[in-house]
Symmetry: C2
Subunit: 339 residues, 2 copies
């Protein structure tokens, strides 16, 4: 088969690779229905994160079970499944506490932008869609559950969003936009999206944002204070991962408020004394997507949410290089790839 | 009157100062029944925190209302009261959300090591003891509610301690020891105290510690992992405020666990990526003592807790300099001062 490989900054190739097969008895091999490009893929694509030679890419996926190892019990060939970007056994203590993305046996998925994918720990990682194979129009939304929706959902959950919470979302990438959707689904109001891009503002509003703040830095914080009776937001979802966005989020929260952060922080240092007097709750990390998958799949199948709208570009998988380029140049919010 | 003034490193004087009087109509003046030396007083005493000329000291207090301003409604002369180290209006949004120590009108108390003390925002700051003036043997425990107990209590609360939580406490100063007492009161088990000092270990056990860990750094973390089935603690209370103690706390928590920090961090920088993959919840700041005061006063009056045991040295107020010396040299855990 051919699959996606990053050779260096800006150099994505779709080239011959070995077709994956069962290695461990707990593995499954999927035939990919849809995969996509993640904001986090852009860090190495832009040369901002070093790679160690040619690197297969992709960690968001859904599709059909092609084959399972002899120890796999919960899924079988022909089923349609969604899995987390982090494989987990779903039985260790960390998994039982709700943090499968810190599973003792965690393996980050790394080769999903391809027609076939080996998934380790299949029983703990994959969730099949109830009611059989879903209709194709639901596939994009199901795909989001694998990472970008699950991560936006975690952003809202980790920021303690409840009915009536005042929410601000820092970052208008796909994760931030789905953070807006998640906060809406959890009953928050107002939901303030920080965005300077018209197309993203529009989608944020569709997903439930009640207010848009275009200012950044101190001015952005001042606007959020204005929109929250001078107090600051109950919950702030930090969906970027830079020093600037983290400080924006912390400063926008009220005293005793909640700040979540869900993108790997790049060169972020938080001063202890600043954090102390900010008085915020802080929680984040790799999203425990597996915990949320059953609920998110159900919400998609019942058409309560339509997170697949974040894909404003869909390409055949072999045009993956253009998919990266479009996101890098901000011509696309998020690129879906179909084999 | 004479009061306590810090002139420079190691130089505490008890010298003539103006007797406080009502300035604002919302003020009260107290006749101090007991005050004490705080671990945080040792930072400037040791020259580790600069002072701007001679500095009056003290922020923990309880005593009798001597006089109130004309706007004060909730307390009256003759009553016995305990107040927070941070004066608050108890009506602003931050107060209503439970964070009076970040009150819009917050004033840190700074002159309590004296026979008389002006307390601003008396209605929002002071809580009188129900049932009239308490017996003198309860005064030390009531005094602790003003800061050190309230701070230990916040450490446990902010670390999400619940019945059955596994708890580790970093720091065997008075705050850490009362963090142990608080965790015990909240139903935690086991409660692991990190301490190398025999007298403090003994008091930790009296307060409810089930295990003592004397190791620090990676070895200390390994011991806590051993004591928590290899998982890490649900809740870790960081009661020191250094880089080392913060990292100790974060590393001792389980994935998805809770870390609180209640001492002003000195030269602490938390790396974003480290924090992200630690997966912990982090919450701290100046303890919202005023929120807890009614409950803590009740627990003391009903003799459910005896936090006054942290005072292993009691001196007449005019010997305050010796009180600082004894704590600095770790001859005393905490010094009570009686006018």
């Amino acid at each position: 088969m051919r699959g996606t490989v990053l050779y260096g900054p800006g150099d994505i190739r779709f080239e011959e690779r070995e077709t994956p097969k069962i290695i461990e008895p707990t593995d499954a091999v999927l035939r990919i229905a849809a995969t996509c490009v993640c904001g986090s893929d852009l860090w190495p694509y832009r040369g901002l994160q070093p790679i160690d030679g040619p690197t297969p890419m992709g960690h968001e996926y859904c599709g059909f079970i092609e084959e399972v190892g002899r120890a796999v019990k919960s899924v079988k060939p022909g089923q349609f499944v969604v899995g987390s970007f982090a494989a987990s056994d779903n039985t260790c203590a960390h998994c039982r506490y709700g943090y499968p993305s810190s599973c003792e046996h965690r393996e980050f998925m790394l080769r999903a932008q391809a027609p076939f994918l080996r998934v380790p720990l299949a029983d703990g990682t994959l969730v099949s869609t109830p009611g059989g194979v879903p209709s194709d129009d639901l596939v994009p939304s199901l795909l989001t559950a694998s990472d970008v929706l699950g991560t936006g959902w975690f952003a809202a959950d980790a920021a303690n969003v409840k009915p009536g919470s005042t929410v601000a979302v820092v970052g208008d990438g796909a994760v931030g936009l789905l953070g807006v959707l998640s906060a809406k689904q959890m009953g928050a109001k107002p939901i303030i999206a920080m965005s300077r891009h018209e197309s993203r503002q529009k989608l944020a509003r569709e997903f439930g944002a009640t207010d848009i703040v275009t200012e950044r830095g101190d001015e952005g914080v001042a606007r959020i204070k204005e929109l929250t009776n001078g107090v600051g937001a109950d919950s702030v979802l930090e969906c970027v991962g830079t020093q600037e966005s983290m400080m924006q989020a912390i400063n926008a929260a009220r005293k005793g408020g909640y700040v979540s952060y869900v993108g790997v922080p790049h060169d972020v240092e938080l001063n202890g004394e600043m954090l102390f007097f900010s008085h915020v709750h802080l929680h984040g990390g790799p999203a425990p997507v597996r915990r949320y998958l059953p609920e998110l799949i159900k919400l998609v199948l019942n058409k309560k949410i339509n997170p697949g709208k974040v894909f404003d570009l869909t390409l055949p998988l072999d045009q993956v290089a253009e998919g990266y380029r479009a996101m890098d140049q901000r011509r696309a919010i998020k690129t879906q790839l179909r084999p």
